[in-house]
Symmetry: C2
Subunit: 408 residues, 2 copies
């Protein structure tokens, strides 16, 4: 794990003001999971009737808390619910003891909050392969339940950080008839988790009223175009979790409500971008858009090949408008491409067209775009109508320093 | 392109003595393709009756010379043949002009060597997107044909280098009945090609007698277990080419001759390892072996996920026995895995077993292995009998320096 000595240069100016979401209360505590005196547990208590949707890592080595959440996420919503997150230990690759730890914690939270254990969702983030000291988490529950507060979300955003360089929050308001629906979300990622791997955890709360299946559909759809369209280094955590809870406290039904769907999508996209902006060693925020692909799936395959290419990411770090490397990434992605129909732009500068360097190419103009903090790479394949946009950051000495220069 | 100021620490002590291959003559010249006064073209002239096999990049944006070679590789072998390679310009993403350049060059080589153009194979490596000054290459042909020499292979190995830090050669001898068959090969890669991308070019010559289809079968089979099992940074060139020429001059027929197949495989593996040892910024040579997979394909998918993971490669650079990142890579690869059957070894040290840290785990012993120059990561999945071994290097500040710190 690297020592994080400064906030990412791509961080927002400040943590945003997040609205209170009726029906949700937060508390944080220092349980001493790995270190003493560091806030490392967060509890969110959800009112009876809250619907909960979720999307989780597809890793085949996913952690015990993830498997437990996946089992429970489709359950009914009459009882209240709770989300408990600890940092300092991922409870991943911990075998049967890891499963037992989840059972102990969820049972204790259920008892403390007077809800069924089937309505307790947990996440753990931190070292992997070490037994989770679940007794310490459980011992913090009395502090947590005593401290529950509807305006505690900013503290919660900090409690789930590991080596993130800034806390991440986003919100939206939507008019539904004569009512106002509020959405507030927090995330962590993708600073390094000592000493193992980047993990993204996201919790979004709303006072909207919506059934579980409708919410799950919205969340899964937006996750595909937000959190599943970002990459820092192509590595995938064993613990990635996104949970969205709708308390219904506003009384406003948002089933089949496109404006709510759009606002929720906006909060998810904002948080996803913040995760990229906290990418290890990042100095540039990069948007890659592919159009004209044979299908949307092909477009995303090409876009991710570009966003994950070490040669492209180092060229961006070096402010080098090296479009040859983009041609290379398209060629290797495996999705359909025709070399002689490709066109590529860096920002507004057309660098390649119809399979060769553009007649309009200006090295000076392309280099000027690369000097900015926000880099846009656009590729048109000239084949069909498939499109995709993904986001990433550059690959710098900072990434190597964080991941190689310090022993775990 | 980075300035390469020193030879890779993983380089062999010296370029090997390579045997003369009867029926092959080499020449090199300074054509001034990109720079003046630098040896940048290589001609290999092959005697009549030489069979030629080849394996090429699967990139969808592959260069004009690659497409031309692929068209010709299945042709008959009665006439002589020639291989012409230039460095300094890849003739890639150059549209119809690129195709025309290949036609001009192959016609001129055919005329100079008195062979059909269909028996002239060319490769180009260097910048992409720039028109190849084929007139300069053609103008060097009189020097090249005048300088042909059967002992010129070492000079040829140097002529095809771009930012390689050392020339790469390997050889073998095989007894076939009472005759001796010789094999000698050269390669370039995967130093960076100014200013674009890593390219691997490999040329292997033998005086064995063998039909084209039999040779192609051997070459393709070994390529799958050698050159297709190495990775430096997961990026794939538009120009990767492997050509194997058998002159038949030894009079020894090696069709269905396992010892020859094995010797050829050995030369290919040696050259493939040398390419990894010249990987950009490499300080460690890494062998990843996966066993117990559901299939060989699954084993290779897992092995490549490990070998391409930036988090694993930076951990190796930092001499950190971070087996959690190996669990992560297995989880993300997409191939079949069961978290609770995994076992992992670093060198001889068992670090994980049956889904958790091994009872025998010694941090000290694992860390000691990571301090060496040769790192072995072995994963058993406990599912079936699929196996794969791949090779890579670590990811260091040197890689970033070469690819980001200098503008093209």
């Amino acid at each position: 794990m690297g020592k994080i000595t400064q906030v990412s240069p791509l961080a927002p100016a400040a943590f945003p003001e997040l609205p209170v979401i009726a029906g949700v209360r937060f508390a944080t505590a220092s349980a001493g999971v790995k270190y003493q005196g560091r806030t490392d547990v967060m509890l969110a208590q959800l009112a009876p009737g809250t619907t909960v949707a979720g999307v989780f890592t597809r890793s085949k080595t996913r952690a015990a808390p993830v498997l437990d959440c996946q089992d429970k996420i489709g359950g009914d919503s009459d009882a209240g619910a709770a989300i408990l997150v600890n940092s300092g230990n991922a409870n991943a690759f911990t075998g049967k003891n890891g499963v037992a730890s989840v059972q102990e914690i969820t049972a204790a939270v259920a008892s403390a909050c007077s809800i069924p254990a089937s309505r307790v969702f947990t996440s753990s983030t931190g070292v992997i392969g070490e037994p989770l000291p679940h007794d310490r988490v459980i011992a913090s529950l009395s502090d947590l339940t005593a401290g529950l507060d509807e305006s505690g979300i900013a503290a919660a955003a900090k409690a789930i950080m590991t080596t993130d360089t800034f806390p991440k929050g986003a919100s939206a308001e939507v008019a539904v008839g004569d009512r106002t629906v509020r959405i507030a979300g927090i995330a962590k990622g993708s600073g390094m988790i000592a000493p193992d791997m980047a993990t993204m955890l996201v919790y979004i709360f709303t006072d909207a009223m919506i059934g579980r299946d409708a919410l799950q559909g919205m969340v899964a759809g937006s996750a595909d175009r937000t959190f599943n369209c970002i990459t820092v280094d192509s590595d995938t955590s064993t613990s990635d979790s996104l949970i969205v809870a709708a308390t219904g406290a506003s009384g406003a039904d948002v089933t089949d409500h496109p404006e709510f769907d759009e606002a929720l999508h906006g909060v998810m996209l904002d948080l996803a971008h913040q995760v990229v902006r906290d990418g290890e060693g990042a100095t540039k925020f990069v948007e890659v858009t592919v159009t004209g692909a044979a299908s949307d799936t092909d477009a995303k395959t090409h876009a991710m090949a570009i966003a994950n290419s070490p040669l492209i990411k180092t060229a961006i770090a070096g402010e080098d408008p090296n479009w040859g490397r983009v041609v290379m990434a398209i060629g290797k992605s495996g999705a359909e491409a025709d070399r002689d129909r490709l066109s590529i732009r860096f920002g507004d500068v057309e660098v390649a067209k119809d399979g060769w360097r553009s007649a309009k190419y200006s090295e000076e103009a392309a280099a000027a775009h690369m000097k900015g903090e926000n880099i846009n790479i656009t590729v048109d394949l000239g084949l069909g109508s498939g499109t995709s946009t993904v986001w990433t950051c550059d690959l710098t000495h900072g990434y190597i320093a964080i991941n190689a220069d310090y022993r775990s």
